[in-house]
């Protein structure tokens, strides 16, 4: 009994010492430790620098980042996945699953906040196939772990890998067979960067980066090419996707790049700033490597930077995600995976049915149309009378994607209790919390 108590205390201590929540305040103060409570204008933080928890005044809070090291429950990679994401008209987004639809409400089941009954007029849309995948890599958080060739042109600063010279930096990210690579690319004068994926090593070989995928980004557009293995017959490059859409615009020297790679089906999909630029089929045997290399092509006069690099495993459900825009404001719209759109009134949802269909009454058909769940891509709800946007005092970002506006936050060991301006009192599982920031 005594042994188990000691073991339990030791585990509790370890879990505390591992947690590294981060609190940043407007005056530049920075605290690390484990947030054990947040209530009454105070954040209580367990830290090695004080025997008693520090009581931090949250009036000047900029952001509270919750550590991913949370030993009491699953690691973030093992958190439940939802393939649907609901967007409220105040900008909030919630991962979960539609479990019911009435003329007035949509029932949305979440694993972290239970069942939400949401009035239709508060809902902007529901996207399907938005599964947050198992995260393989998120960073960079420093230059450590990255390999550079002898010239060391790349540097780490302000959360970004930056170079203003030609040169490689690479890392073996243990890329799985199917993955989604995303990153924010920025530049000083013009974009000029190459990203080599699925390479055999984290450094270029003597023959360059053969047997890989090459994502080429410059002011002329974006291109995805298959780099053939050394010794293979035919041309060294096979172009898979080409877009002449220039990254960024005159007001922005940054873009969000996403490449989805399915090495089993040999399908690659390229997105720029959330817009799908194209899909390519690799006609060869896919490269087998698991590393990634960034190659700056800058000639020494301006910086190229890469930040917010995220690599997730890609499962097939995400393939359904389409970013079809809203068709009409005064009608419901349901878009399906082949690009068809059905506008009218989305009447109901039958989760008990074999195909789990949504029923839509369109203007074109006298009878309602049933659309199986597996074909649904995005569902927009009628923009009714303007309802005032409502923001809470805080923004809660969720580890599985999504964000919520909240007020009256009270954080306990396992749950966060707070009031959502529209959804009312919520109890949210602490494990899902990524960060809390003050609303502007």
């Amino acid at each position: 009994m005594r042994t188990s108590l000691i073991a339990g205390l030791t585990m509790a201590f370890l879990s505390i010492s591992q947690a590294n929540d981060q609190i940043s305040l407007k005056n530049g103060d920075l605290f690390f430790g484990k947030v054990i409570a947040l209530k009454g204008g105070l954040i209580e933080l367990q830290t090695p620098h004080s025997e008693a928890p520090l009581k931090i005044l949250n009036k000047d809070l900029i952001k509270l980042n919750f550590s991913a090291d949370y030993s009491e429950k699953e690691t973030p990679d093992e958190l439940p996945k939802n393939s649907q994401e609901l967007y409220l008209r105040n900008g909030d987004s919630i991962p979960g699953e539609v479990v019911g639809l009435t003329p007035t409400h949509l029932s949305f089941q979440t694993w972290f906040a239970g069942l939400l009954e949401i009035p239709r007029e508060q809902i902007d849309s529901v996207f399907f196939g938005v599964t947050p995948q198992r995260n393989i890599f998120r960073g960079p958080i420093g230059i450590e772990g990255w390999s550079q060739e002898n010239n060391g042109r790349w540097r780490y600063e302000d959360g970004a890998l930056t170079s203003r010279d030609k040169g490689f930096i690479g890392r073996d990210l243990k890329l799985p067979e199917n993955f989604i690579f995303g990153a924010e690319i920025s530049w000083e004068s013009s974009p000029n960067i190459r990203i080599h994926l699925c390479t055999d090593g984290e450094k270029p070989q003597s023959d360059g980066t053969s047997n890989s995928y090459l994502l080429n980004l410059n002011s002329g557009g974006v291109q995805v090419r298959r780099v053939m293995p050394t010794g293979s017959s035919g041309p060294k490059f096979k172009t898979l996707i080409t877009s002449t859409q220039a990254p960024g615009n005159k007001n922005s020297n940054t873009c969000q790049l996403e490449l989805r790679v399915d090495r089993v089906s040999k399908i690659l999909q390229l997105y720029l700033d959330g817009e799908k630029l194209g899909q390519g089929i690799d006609p060869t045997d896919s490269p087998k490597g698991s590393a990634i290399l960034f190659e700056s092509m800058s000639s020494g006069s301006s910086d190229n930077s890469i930040r917010n690099i995220i690599v997730n495993e890609w499962d097939t459900t995400t393939q359904l995600l389409r970013r079809e825009p809203r068709a009409e404001d005064d009608l419901d719209t349901l878009s399906v995976d082949d690009g068809d759109r059905f506008s009218g009134k989305i009447l109901s949802y039958s989760p008990a049915g074999p195909t789990k269909p949504f029923t839509v009454q369109t203007l074109l058909s006298p009878n309602p149309i049933s659309i199986p769940l597996e074909n649904c891509a995005v569902m927009y709800f009628t923009k009714g009378a303007d309802i005032p946007k409502s923001k809470g005092q805080y923004h809660l970002a969720l580890r599985t994607g999504g964000k919520l506006s909240l007020s009256g936050i009270q954080l306990g060991p396992n749950k966060l209790k707070a009031k959502h301006p529209w959804l009312g009192e919520l109890e949210i599982d602490r494990v899902v919390m990524l960060s809390i920031s003050k609303s502007e």
Partner: protein, 464 residues
């Protein structure tokens, strides 16, 4: 041997706070605590109990007074107003080092006594400090308050030829890292005998210039000054003096830098016409020069100028007094003939004369020296240095040692006992127990002998 805070009665002019009327009183600015996990808390330190490793801290970020432990505390900045002292002379005692540690404590004050065993300095911040002479490495006398720089602590005080410092340089962990070719400069009053030292880190190969005595901090190619140029395995020093012909002073191969990624540079400067100057890299003499009158340089800018876009890291930058004696080379030590040494201690005067003798007494700024030619009286303000014992001795490292940095530059190591809003109490093997006015210090480093905290304190070579 407890020292009390004494009124500095012997100083010629009363001490005055060093901030202007329109400036915000520094006291109003909070101190900042930095911990090894990068926690950073601002506020007012109320007290420190060293044995308990407890710090009571009043932070506007925290509810009420907080009791923090200092086990992982790296440093505490202080913003009190130091006093500016005008005196007839300024004595600077450089203390011998701690075991294998390169830091050298310095204490400044007014010399009031010197005998076989002790040196007594009158200070505004700790009253009379009587130093064990065997633990004092050197004693220098100045007629102006000696100037120091230790940094970099941040971009304050630096300017960049490119205009925008943040665009071209990153400051972190008391290090500055170049992002481009644009140089960075700051004005530091360089004493007549000075030591400029710094550490450089690079990733590919070293390619940079260090300029000193420059007359224009906003230009990477100023009109006058010295330029020390490092390019891969080659180092040169070029002198461009006003109304003088320009000189290539040193051109040397430094092939041992080929495989290195870091090096410590030290430039020894004696501005007098007959002074010997030198450049050392990693403690090894690369070249010397003499016979140039550098008193004619009016500029006081020091520049660090990368010569390519590959990042270079500069840290441990220090400008300090130098006793004018170059580190002995091994062959010089062998040549030394003890029989040729005269009895007594070597006292250098401002006019360059050297007297060998012993100090009989010090009275009202006048030193009475006993020499083989009879007794000689010398005003302290006309002295420049007193050669001290060469016996090998070092200061012990103590468990609760802290390094207290003076606003004026330099630092002392103190075994901390306690600290409150006004006073730091501590012990040193050099002077015993003493109480220090906390306004003398700009920051206090804690846990200085814990090497496992060095990476958090200084950053690592891989931390770019």
């Amino acid at each position: 041997m407890k020292k009390l805070l004494l009124t500095p009665t012997l100083f010629l002019v009363s001490a005055i706070p060093s901030f202007g009327e329109n400036e915000k009183a520094p006291k109003e600015r909070p101190s900042v605590l930095t911990f090894s996990d990068k926690s950073r808390i601002s506020g007012i330190p109320k007290s420190v109990e060293a044995e308990k490793k407890q710090l009571v801290f009043d932070s506007s970020s925290l509810e009420g007074l907080s009791v923090l432990n200092t086990k992982r505390l790296l440093e505490m900045t202080l913003n009190g107003a130091p006093k500016k002292i005008e005196a007839d002379h300024y004595a600077l005692a450089t203390i011998k080092g701690h075991f294998r540690d390169s830091h050298r404590d310095t204490i400044r004050g007014r010399l009031t006594n010197l005998d076989d065993k002790t040196i007594t300095l009158e200070t505004w911040y700790a009253g009379n400090l009587t130093l064990r002479r065997s633990l004092v490495h050197s004693l220098d006398i100045f007629n102006q308050s000696p100037s120091f720089y230790n940094g970099p602590d941040g971009p304050e005080g630096w300017i960049s030829a490119g205009g925008n410092i943040e665009k071209y340089w990153t400051f972190k962990n008391r290090t500055m890292i170049s992002k481009a070719r644009s140089g960075i400069a700051r004005e530091v009053t360089i004493p007549d005998k000075a030591k400029i030292s710094f550490t450089a880190n690079w990733k590919s190969s070293p390619y940079f210039r260090i300029l000193f005595f420059s007359d224009d901090g906003s230009d990477d190619y100023p009109g006058t000054g010295y330029s020390l140029n490092v390019q891969r395995t080659y180092m040169s020093v070029y002198r461009n003096a006003p109304n003088d012909r320009n000189n290539d002073i040193i051109s040397e191969s430094i092939r041992n830098m080929l495989e290195a990624e870091t090096a410590e540079f030290t430039i020894y400067l004696d501005r007098s016409k007959d002074g010997t100057n030198a450049v050392h890299i990693d403690g090894k003499e690369i070249g010397t020069w003499t016979g140039v009158d550098d008193t004619k340089f009016k500029g006081n800018w020091i520049h660090f100028v990368p010569q390519n876009t590959s990042p270079i890291k500069f840290s441990n930058i220090s400008v300090s007094q130098w006793d004018g004696i170059l580190p002995a080379k091994p062959e010089d030590e062998e040549k030394e003939d003890p029989e040729e040494k005269l009895e007594g201690q070597e006292i250098r005067l401002a006019n360059g004369d050297v007297i060998i003798g012993s100090v009989k007494s010090i009275d009202e700024g006048q030193v009475s020296l006993s020499t083989s030619f009879g007794d000689v009286g010398v005003p302290i303000k006309l002295m420049r240095s007193v050669a001290l014992s060469e016996e090998i001795d070092e200061v012990r490292m103590e468990k609760n040692d802290v390094r207290c940095w003076f606003h004026e530059g330099g630092y002392i190591t103190v075994k901390l006992k306690s600290l409150d809003e006004k006073t730091l109490r501590g012990y040193s093997q050099v002077w015993g127990d003493a109480e220090f006015d906390i306004n003398a210090f700009s920051r206090i480093e804690f846990n200085i002998w814990r090497p496992e905290l060095d990476t958090a304190r200084y950053g690592s070579s891989t931390d770019w």
